[in-house]
Symmetry: C2
Subunit: 404 residues, 2 copies
Amino acid sequence: MEKIDFVTNGTVTSPQGFTAGATSADIRKKGDNRLDLGIIASKEICNVAGLFTDNKIKSPSVVLCSKRVFDGKAKAIVASSGCANASTGEQGFSDAIEMSALAAKVIGAKPDEVLIANTGVIGVNLPMPSIRAAMKKIVTKADGGHEFEQAIMTTDTMPKEVAVTVQSGPNNFTIGGVAKGSGMIHPNLATMLVFLTTDANVTPAYLKKSLTDAAAISFNMVSVDGDTSPSDTVLLLANGAAKTELITGKSGMADIFQRALNQVCIYLAKAIARDGEGATKLIEINVKKAANLKEARQAARTIVSSNLLKAAVYGNDPNWGRVTAALGRSGAQLEEEKLDVFMGTIQVLKDGAPVPFDKFKAVNVFKQKEVPITVVLNMGTANATAWGCDLTEQYVKINAEYTT
Amino acid sequence: MEKIDFVTNGTVTSPQGFTAGATSADIRKKGDNRLDLGIIASKEICNVAGLFTDNKIKSPSVVLCSKRVFDGKAKAIVASSGCANASTGEQGFSDAIEMSALAAKVIGAKPDEVLIANTGVIGVNLPMPSIRAAMKKIVTKADGGHEFEQAIMTTDTMPKEVAVTVQSGPNNFTIGGVAKGSGMIHPNLATMLVFLTTDANVTPAYLKKSLTDAAAISFNMVSVDGDTSPSDTVLLLANGAAKTELITGKSGMADIFQRALNQVCIYLAKAIARDGEGATKLIEINVKKAANLKEARQAARTIVSSNLLKAAVYGNDPNWGRVTAALGRSGAQLEEEKLDVFMGTIQVLKDGAPVPFDKFKAVNVFKQKEVPITVVLNMGTANATAWGCDLTEQYVKINAEYTT
């Protein structure tokens, strides 16, 4: 018997053996009192996997964290919001090292067993005196995941948390996750932070492979190609506390672990897209029957990140020309006379030619909170889905006034 | 003696032997009476060069026009606004053929001597009955360039016209041009149309080469990489009416012809960027000392098309982190510790580390109508400049309400 269920109010502390906590270090400004510094901890040492920004400018925290992930073991994650510790040079490195050491002391771990991530303004040093004073106040608790999530939010308007429990024969385990939204339409600067925990017993190699595969169909599909911030970080900690059999790439449980992890990652990815800055709607682009998977993904991402389409969705305007124009420049192989396009279930283009359609019904599709658009290339068998959000005046307002 | 001067009120009819005219064909709607159909004509047959959209979905008009440009000779261009004749299938082809034949009749040319371009809504057929009736009313005149320009404007808020006269020893010639703005921040759907004329005597081969080179540093630098509409078209007609010596790639005049053409193209490209939909400012990104030219251009284009930077410029917010973040994902080779960044003349990053700067002065740079930002990579000797505009609430408004 196999099943995957969502956990009510699930979060990163839903899996056994994980605790979390947060406090205010006034990182944004003195007297802010906003939660901005948090720790996720495991009693037992964890196998870890991580994915990091492709940006050539990486924050010192990312450089340090990726080195520790490469070493393969960790007991905790310390994270903060308000200051990205990016473009901060040598000082940034020593601050990242000290910050993780401070967290290690709180939870009784070795400094190099603590992973680190920061999000916020670039080019400003971490306020280490406040962080030193605040870190001591953190108490990690078995239900502390929600508090931790608060501490990593920036322009996010809602928390992004989820957990699923998995039953697989005699084995039960849980996967939990929290995310700090990209906070914008493309995560090309505002950092995407995702922290995942599981009490399953998973080898480091399979942890890495399953995280990479899950990210490919979730977090990588809310971003335009190559758009990453200096701080983007996805971390997965597996502490084995549920005492499952050891999950490897070859074990019978590999598949259900992957499916459960996909479900958690897609949930968080959609939450990030839905909560893009100023967004009022989630856009879902389904590309079907592409010549190959790479092109299917590229086409879906290109369409979902078209400013013109985003603005049209905001304006309830089923302007399918903006879909085909983005598709045409996506690099995906296509033959115009094979192309079908649907707004929701309403076909607007068939064999490359416009189909008369009920404009009123199409406008209604665009008026929903989730707007699905499907493009069928009829060139092969590869499918992909990408998520994004509409482009609103509010997005411009938020981003015109971020540091000032 | 060599010199290049701007012509007062210069336009596409400034070079000798070119005439132009326009009329209203009510393409947008009945009773619109807006100029929307125009012809540029030359008494003598012209050598022609053209550049067309890279989009895999090309309009039937683009397919027809590029074939005729490939044949190398033309006497006229017919253009219209309000309907792109894109995604219109077989009917679109026969309409394009008929439309050019109607124009040929007006000016006394053969049908295949007329080039064609359309801009406007996608997926709608040209209103041929109105076009048939209207075409006959067009009278091309020696000062008709301004009227023609009116007919190709869509959401453009100002005409984009220019001409330069060139003196090179005993040879004098003129190059003129008009453009229909991308009408948006990225020309990824709203069509960019550019029509250039010259009375210089230029071989087809050099015409093609010089147009390609001029576009590479002008029109291609107001676009994000690969972003093109189904209709983007740049055409250059040379009728030889100024009776210059024949300009080839090897002749002494090749260089000054190229420089004059560059000047015309850069003028029009900047005008397009400045008049992006909803824009209030021109952004100029200078990338210096890149490892190679391709990367310099790619970096400049990536930075200038960052939504976050565009919004920051609109908000007078000298947030240089958005510049470096875009640079980091541009694909250009860089070493963070070699990187210098300037807002106007104010240095904000030196050797990869933040430099304390007068925020008030930097805000003032952003408050100007032209905002220059310079990134020095110190990796090589290649330089490039790209132009764009700020992202405003007005952009969203315009694009949320385009077809509805």
